[in-house]
Symmetry: C2
Subunit: 405 residues, 2 copies
């Protein structure tokens, strides 16, 4: 009998968790496992704001996929996914087609611009390693150019961050630490630099504990960040952004750097493949299967699950993606072995820590609020845990964050 083909699309938190668990759980003779990813490396999406600000080198944020997979069991294919053909049980890649018996779609998120004009053209998004290092270099080039112009253009020293959600706030924390370094590097007067955060919602970190939100905002404000809360971006232009002001008025905020950190959506391959979805996220069964496709599992940012306690979807996080990856591996192994009863997913919320730069953070861990250096410490524990779950202690030693003190 032919071994079943298991195809995993994406080597992010979810996909790589599935691959590394399956290679432990299944014998060489039980299945062929294929892992498809655009790059030959995995990157820590939740650390990209650091690489974007330039406070952590992007090579610290990524590692070779080959270093965590067992090549006796998993075949790695570096390619881009175009489309899933669920009827014919195959995946169309840029370079080839792959037939599957079991498919895991773990393609992660894309930036969502909500149709705001100009964002795609004139704003950066913190979405991958390529983008992160481009943002870092773009900002640095603005500072490097400042003293070379006859008429000094202060908008070169202005950075607008669109969105005060987790990514926005964490990026602001890094920027606030990075800007003094940039000022020193390029002999720029610190007081000429502006970091402006524009958020349409009535609060930063919507849904987060108000006390922690206050802490985060006043911490960042003390470090020079200017918040424009309850302010919607109407348009991005080559000169900056246009925001709504009152009912009918608009205001221009000039800035040579605009980073859009306000929205993510599931990968557009989801819609291209005909899955029913909301912003690229498929409402999956509790077993993580796509509705109507018992051989297709969708996990991570491309999946949508309802938190029944509050009747709202769980936000897409690395934590949930990895937990889904674990269960997904288990369920696929069960199917491969002919078991029909699959396990259902329950989210074990270990808490959330939002970094405010290297030495401060706010968070709720095991139900307890923490701030300051204790929270910053916990953030590093969380970051190292992701490495540990996928690559074990060796990966933690290689890529972990140990600047604890």
């Amino acid at each position: 009998m032919k071994k079943p083909n298991i195809v995993i699309l994406g080597a992010g938190y979810g996909g790589l968790m599935v691959a590394t668990r399956l290679q432990k759980q299944l014998g060489v003779n039980e299945a062929e496992i294929f892992l498809v990813n655009k790059h030959d490396y995995h990157y820590e999406t939740t650390w990209l704001h650091e690489a974007s600000a330039g406070t952590l080198h992007h090579d610290k944020v990524r590692y070779d996929i080959s270093s965590v997979i067992d090549r006796n069991k998993v075949t790695f294919i570096q390619d881009s996914v175009q489309k899933v053909n669920a009827e014919e049980k195959k995946v169309i890649l840029e370079g080839q087609e792959l037939a599957y018996d079991y498919l895991v779609v773990a393609l992660g998120a894309e930036s969502e611009t909500f149709g705001i004009q100009g964002l795609n053209e004139y704003a950066f998004s913190i979405s991958n390693v390529n983008k992160a290092r481009q943002i870092r270099e773009h900002i640095e080039y603005q500072f490097a150019t400042y003293h070379n112009e006859e008429e000094k253009d202060d908008t070169r020293l202005r950075i607008v961050v669109g969105g005060a959600g987790f990514t926005g706030i964490e990026f602001l924390g890094e920027l606030a630490n990075r800007v003094p370094e940039l000022c020193k590097e390029y002999d720029v007067d610190y007081h000429k630099v502006k970091i402006i955060c524009v958020e349409a919602a009535p609060s930063a970190l919507p849904g987060f504990d108000p006390e922690l939100v206050d802490y985060a905002m006043s911490y960042l404000e003390r470090k020079g960040v200017e918040f424009r809360i309850g302010t919607a971006i109407k348009e991005a232009t080559p000169e900056g952004i246009i925001v709504a002001k009152g009912e009918n008025e608009v205001e221009e905020i000039k800035a040579k750097t605009v980073v859009w950190a306000a929205g993510v959506r599931g990968n557009s391959v989801i819609e291209e493949s005909g899955f029913e979805a909301m912003r690229g996220r498929v409402k999956v069964e509790k077993t993580l299967q796509a509705p109507g496709h018992s051989d297709v599992f969708i996990i991570g940012d491309c999946s949508l699950m309802i938190n029944e306690e509050i009747n709202r979807p769980y936000p897409p996080t690395a934590q949930i993606a990895m937990q889904q990856g674990e269960l997904c591996a288990k369920n696929i192994a069960a199917l491969v072995r002919g078991k029909e009863q699959l396990e259902e997913f329950t989210f074990d919320n270990k808490g959330t820590v939002c970094s405010l730069g290297e030495d401060d953070a706010v968070g709720i861990v095991f139900g307890k609020k923490i701030v300051g250096s204790k929270a910053a410490f916990m953030k590093k524990v969380v970051d190292n845990r992701a490495l540990y779950m996928i690559g074990g202690p060796g990966l933690v030693l290689k890529k972990g964050k140990f600047n604890f003190f």
Copy 2:
């Protein structure tokens, strides 16, 4: 009796040499010495190609002027020189006017574009610290952007260097070492990168020993540099450059980075002040005085002296500027002390070394040709010597180059 005012314009090799020698030679009661410079730091002009390529940090290339002047004797004024009014014996700065009894004009060079269209707008010049770090960041940003575009634009990975004189060749040597690092940093295929040097003269390093020119060119060619010798740049555009091809034809070389390293001229303050000059260089007396102005000394890149052996002007170098600075200080001290007989300048040519990157070079030292690591070693000795002459052993220890092996 009022002490005479000695005003030194420029804290480059020449000006700083005058200031540091005068502060040793004159007592506090003999003269008031003013040193005027745009920045509060001195930079090693001859190291700027390294900062521009990104192989040496720009902070290594500069030091605080205050660290080498004796503030009991020299008053430092950070300001920009607008004009010298030799009739009224005063200097007009942006922020104030300064009367002088003795003036030293040591304002250095500017980039000379020979009227080639577009060079000012679209090409960089390796002319100061601000420009150097902008070039470094510009190149880096091109590499950082490469993988972010749907359609890869290979011209982002192309660097045109206009001119194969000393600056051009030395910059190429650094670039050839830097490019593999950039490729690694941004996951760029090394073979896609092009470094093209365009030189209008019939040879690289015109006037230099042909055997050494051959060595330099073939060394750089082995490292991937493409030479277009005997090719004149007609125009720089936002896309690259237009060069002459044959009699009437032109050819476009597309490149997102164009660095113009083919010409320097004296500071334009020279002409603004009404001194008779050729490209900003005043043909000075052998005593270094400006013709007709016995109280004005002009040294370094703003001065022009004929090498009588070959009846051609000495090229403007740091070596000659420093030697002129030494004599200029001596002559001014003599005038302050009422002596009328001034010394005449004779150039003591210690040789020339042209760097080809960190570990190779070509040169003639004490009349002997050298290449390879020996020449690279000598280049560092030359670089350290400039520090030693101005700031003594302390400055060499602080800013010297000791990566000898």
